[in-house]
Symmetry: C2
Amino acid sequence: MNFIPGWVRNYQKAWLSGDIVAGVIVTVMLIPQSLAYALLTGLPPEVGLYASILPIIAYAMLGSSMTLAVGPVAVASLMTASALQPLAAAGSPDYVALAMLLSLLSGGMLLLFGGLRLGFLAHFLSHPVISGFISGSAVLIAVGQVKHLLGVKAGGNDVFDTVVQLIHAAPGTNLVTLGIGAGSVLFLMLARKSLSPWLVRLGASPRLADIASKLAPMLAVMVSTALVAAMRWDQTAGVSIVGTVPQGLPQLGLPAVSMASVGSLWLPALLISLVGFVESVSVAQSLALKRQQRIQPNRELLGLGAANLASALSGGFPVTGGFARSVVNFAAGANTPLAGVISAVLMGVVIAALTGLFHYLPHAVLAATIIVAVVSLIDVETLRDAWHYDKADAMALLATAGGVIAFGVEVGILMGVALSLGTLVWRSSHPHIAVVGRVPGTEHFRNVTRHTVNTEPGLIAVRVDESLYFANSDALLDRVEELVAAQPDTRHVLLVCSAINQIDTTALGVLTDLERSLAQRGAALLLSEVKGPVLDRLQGTELGQRLEGRIFLSTHAAFEYARQAGSMVGRYGDPAAAI
Amino acid sequence: MNFIPGWVRNYQKAWLSGDIVAGVIVTVMLIPQSLAYALLTGLPPEVGLYASILPIIAYAMLGSSMTLAVGPVAVASLMTASALQPLAAAGSPDYVALAMLLSLLSGGMLLLFGGLRLGFLAHFLSHPVISGFISGSAVLIAVGQVKHLLGVKAGGNDVFDTVVQLIHAAPGTNLVTLGIGAGSVLFLMLARKSLSPWLVRLGASPRLADIASKLAPMLAVMVSTALVAAMRWDQTAGVSIVGTVPQGLPQLGLPAVSMASVGSLWLPALLISLVGFVESVSVAQSLALKRQQRIQPNRELLGLGAANLASALSGGFPVTGGFARSVVNFAAGANTPLAGVISAVLMGVVIAALTGLFHYLPHAVLAATIIVAVVSLIDVETLRDAWHYDKADAMALLATAGGVIAFGVEVGILMGVALSLGTLVWRSSHPHIAVVGRVPGTEHFRNVTRHTVNTEPGLIAVRVDESLYFANSDALLDRVEELVAAQPDTRHVLLVCSAINQIDTTALGVLTDLERSLAQRGAALLLSEVKGPVLDRLQGTELGQRLEGRIFLSTHAAFEYARQAGSMVGRYGDPAAAI
């Protein structure tokens, strides 16, 4: 493995301008977002900034996407908050240390999975379940930020609890805060909806207009900060502000590790890693497809793992590839991860010299940015499509979203994983099994219920359209038993193995039992069209020995064998079976 | 649904003698086993007897197996002990109440799963994982019983802990207890190994000899009880005995239910239900196969659920179908669940009138029965077979067994489920994908790497040998991207759908993305051999609309289309592609 990434070795001058422009634009988005997601997580604002420097550089060295923008994101922040809140007081030094530890664990797990090439782990979550999870989290996040808009204290682990607390706290609303917050929400929603078309009408190119509209949060931050600073609303009206943000680059160091903390954080770390990885890969892949580039899931694991390790070592919290910033990075013309590196350097300048500018930044504006950002994540389209296409998927989506909203983010994601896997097991435990017969005058064999075919008396020929393994072998057994029970004069049961790519140990045992039980009833099991690798493995087994002479290359040969065996015992009499 | 079971309605006189003999023999096995498993669980002896009356009758009403013997079993007892020990002192009234609650929860879950027809849940566990789990549990149980053989106090949650404690306690060994215990172990092992052949040599029929050898535990119980009672070893030598077992039928009543207990017991209840169900169904199925009978998994869920509910209501603990007693029941000639009902009635007589006989029964003999019974559950054969046949399965078996031994029964089974599902996801996330070409002069299409076939320039034809869903659709996408990247002049990508029985929402999204990304590069996606149900569903989707005119009945038609489209743009030039 070469330690200098490919994009550095092959860097072309023509890429530079795009990377610089994208790097600058993403930085302007990243500043308010990193502060906002630190607020969402219950961490001091500088932690958000820390998480936006080294992790980006670490990802640039190891990741495979050219345009993914790594850093703090909404859903991982929510999951972090939900993991840490039972363990320490939000914002306390313990809380910060636990956030670093969580990031360390998550980084270690991702690197381990990458080293073990476990990129396939992403497949534990189906798209509807992820969509439901994100929509549910978005609702949870948005409702959780309303307190900052009102300037009151309220909090709960689920949506209902939070709403009740908000209603109780509502009489204490700070009207100036509400004005700033609600004003920002309105402005940001308007900017998202109308700024881009309006700029186009003024003569801007659609792409430029689109990018400019993404910078509205920074504008809201600047205007509101200036306003609060000028009017001193923090003192005269009690508006909650960010306050002093420590200046200076993050210190490198390991977080405190205790066995007790690891014990409570490993499961959240695993879930954050899994969800972050899946989200990140799907964003990176959809962008890569547009430019005919490739994403390598195992390298993404390494890249994200390194990013989280870097975050842990530099005082940050769990990071992953974010949807909105990646899309803007791509649209703004980023060609390589250099765009990210530029953005990391700029963030370094901000934290080394400019944190004083955030002193008067009101929390309400950050909450407004969060709310507007996450509301756009609520994904009704996938639900609608799934509802029309596959009700089971739609139900899984709704259950996951409902689980997150009603029971919180961990129970929700676990419900989602369980539902994804439950569906997988359910579907694969119901393989398609067809009884086949000969298409008259040919050596082709088709489903008897869909084609006009000839069957052989005393022979039941079934084709399973899936590999046989523990989840579906009983279904085959049941079906064959059913068929044999319905035709007690069966002398041969032929299993057409054309679609069987693998037979696991459980299925091998089931087939062995089936062969033995058929033999006891005077019927023989035949196999046809067994694929090479499957046949090789069968050879050494008890079943392979018992089946000797009864494994046929073609279904035709097996039919011929059954016909001759049948005629030898005088059972051949159906003219329809003649070719 | 008819409330009188089929076997009652159609009962034939000829079945009666078999049922009576089997009922009596099973009872003779059940008495020592029910006392022993109560000891293993840490419950008073009468609880084992209670769990052997009503549950059998409840199963007889609802279950589908004719020969399954339901009641206390070793593994479920171990799992029960492991769930209850952190919550209450073994043997205390709280402990008994929690055991009833666990049985209630397990019964409720099983009935719920049965009502929802979730019999497929059994497929969450592969055969090697179950085998590893049982072997690991057997080791854990056997080691845990050694203290009773030595007459010392020792206990731990895992094997190493227990062994260390035993070594520390060994100097306090009670030699009389050890004599009774070790003598019983020797006698029982000898009986298991040699009694049956010896009886055959004496002229007994093999079946009779086999059954008689299963009655050795009862003999050991009778002889040792008589010995202890005669010598008063409980007082003169400090031998631990069962003591007074309350006489009288169990009182019906609901266990105390508190939210806190339900919170700590739901997961163990789920695991006990799952493991018990899987074990029970596999025993019932292997017996049913021998007589060409059928097992209905969903009815098994109802039967076992009712049995556990009955156990909870009559002061018992979790029960399921046991391996050893079921095999004896079958061999002794049981024809219907009447054998079980007879055995329940006999157990009722024992507990109503004969519990005084157990007073002097030494614990060491019960421990010896348990040890000899579970040692025979250690399944080296499956490990050896799996090792030769499929290393992945063998590793899953070892990991599960090791997990149980090192971390206890709950962690072990969770590791097993995770490994089973991990293997399933891993395997199905690597579907077999073949690039196909035309067998010269035919309308057949085969894998290019295994057959001499002709391909069409500008056309990539791939066949996926599995349904497309969330766990494998990315693999298809990756493969197609790889192929297209290697042949940049590709104009058509044909997906041969002959093996695709289902496309879930996630896979539909992936195909839609693929079609769009190919279109951007000037290549068209074609489908052929799409199955009816898959096609029907595609119609209403965006992908279906975009693919209009490009879905072909046969691969041949799709190849022709690609050839003509290719020739129209002047790209046709490879004579090998001509039919």
